[in-house]
């Protein structure tokens, strides 16, 4: 099972970026293998539709779960349609966010935040 986390940096000690579409990196964490990789967020450099570009990237990475701070309406619609579950986290380390998720301490995000929040 793979988790996609919005991140300020490329490793597990980085801080979770509360913005989804405009975060710098995504950490893709594989729970079974306890392994991860980091990818640059394509949404960061897009002029518009950052949340859509970021969502498409995580869908193509076949993640089952996303952990972030907030989702805009467009990203929310895509991710909902892709049957990916989204959990809300504070700006803590990626490592801690994964631990909290494993313990079931993160709340599921069931509605979108306002548009253009991360601009």
């Amino acid at each position: 099972m793979k988790i996609g986390l919005s991140s300020n940096g490329k490793d597990l000690d980085s801080t979770l970026d509360l913005r989804f579409g405009r975060c710098s990196y995504f950490i893709i964490y594989d729970i079974e293998k306890s392994d991860f990789e980091s990818i640059e967020n394509k949404g960061l450099t897009s002029e518009g539709g950052a949340g859509i570009a970021a969502s498409q990237q995580l869908i193509d990475e076949n993640v089952d779960v996303i952990i972030t701070g907030k989702l805009g309406p467009n990203a929310f619609n895509i991710i909902n349609k892709a049957d990916i579950k989204v959990f809300k986290s504070e700006a803590i380390s990626i490592k801690d966010a994964i631990e909290k998720y494993k313990k079931g301490e993160l709340l599921e995000l069931k509605e979108s935040g306002p548009a253009h929040h991360g601009m």
């Binding site: 539709g49 498409q56 895509i78």
Partner: protein, 276 residues
């Protein structure tokens, strides 16, 4: 001949200058600040022509679409996404570029039209007035601005531009033979004026500055113009009377105590901007 009125900073007086100068010069008034066109609040023209602005957007024929995702890869504006063997469309992000239609090898993608705004035309005090109005919730102003400026009348057009230095302003400047930059003697006014000057320079057209809310002193705007060798067309004084007339939605040019300001500016413009 088309003169663009722009500012960088918002609220410096583009519309005040544009509406009153249009009356002083007996020119056409064109409001292309389509996100908030407020020139008509002052000129109050009788509108006798309303036209819809339509833009293209892709329509996917689900009988022909095999969800290959070629259209998603071709789109540079993130208007399409592929999810669970389905293509999702975000029509407001579409720039109508046509790439998705070309990329689709299955003839599943065609363009349809949808309305994103209107063009309104009318007359006020014997001058022709036109404006574009972007529909609420629509993000893209450029198609409205283009439609408005592609259909300019002959003669002199004063083009009231949007604030800032974004695509919308750059697009309006493409149609201009000269530019008036309206500013105010504040740090914000100066900062954004400097950016607007950089944009106008790219177009190689004559331009000059009008200082609004001017204190008449050797202020930061005058200093900037002197240092950068930029011509000052004139100034509108910092005055309670002017603010009062403006706040009632009235025209300064109709007030006998203010009319001369714009008559003088009109004369000066002809000396700063090559007249044709």
């Amino acid at each position: 001949m088309n003169i663009a009125v722009l500012s960088g900073k918002g609220g410096t007086g583009k519309t005040t200058v544009s509406t009153n100068l249009a009356l002083a010069l007996k020119s056409n008034y064109v409001d292309c600040d389509v996100e908030e066109p407020n020139g008509f609040l002052f000129l109050k023209p009788k509108i006798d022509e309303v036209e819809k602005v339509l833009v293209d957007y892709p329509y996917i024929d689900s009988n022909k679409c095999i969800s290959c995702g070629s259209c998603v890869n071709a789109c540079q504006f993130n208007a399409l996404a592929k999810v669970n063997n389905d293509i999702m469309l975000f029509e407001k992000l579409c720039h109508s570029c046509g790439a998705c239609e070309i990329a689709c090898n299955h003839g599943a993608l065609k363009y349809k039209k949808r309305k994103t705004g209107t063009i309104e035309k009318g007359k006020s005090k014997d001058i022709n007035c036109a404006r574009g109005v972007l529909d609420i919730g629509e993000p893209m102003a450029v198609p409205i601005i283009n439609k408005l400026l592609d259909n300019l009348l002959e003669g002199l057009n004063i083009i009231d531009c949007p604030p800032g230095t974004s695509c919308n302003v750059v697009n309006a400047l493409k149609y201009a033979n000269g530019a008036i930059l309206v500013t105010e003697p504040t740090k914000f006014g100066l900062h954004d004026l400097d950016m607007a000057v950089e944009v106008v320079k790219m177009f190689n057209i004559d331009y000059g500055i009008i200082i609004n809310k001017d204190d008449g002193k050797e202020n930061i705007i005058r200093k900037y113009c002197k240092e950068n060798n930029i011509k000052i067309i004139g100034a509108i004084p910092y005055s309670k009377d002017i603010a009062e007339i403006y706040s009632k939605g009235e025209i300064l040019y109709d007030d006998l105590n203010q009319k001369y300001i714009f008559d003088e500016l009109a004369e000066r413009i002809k000396k700063v901007i090559a007249w044709s």
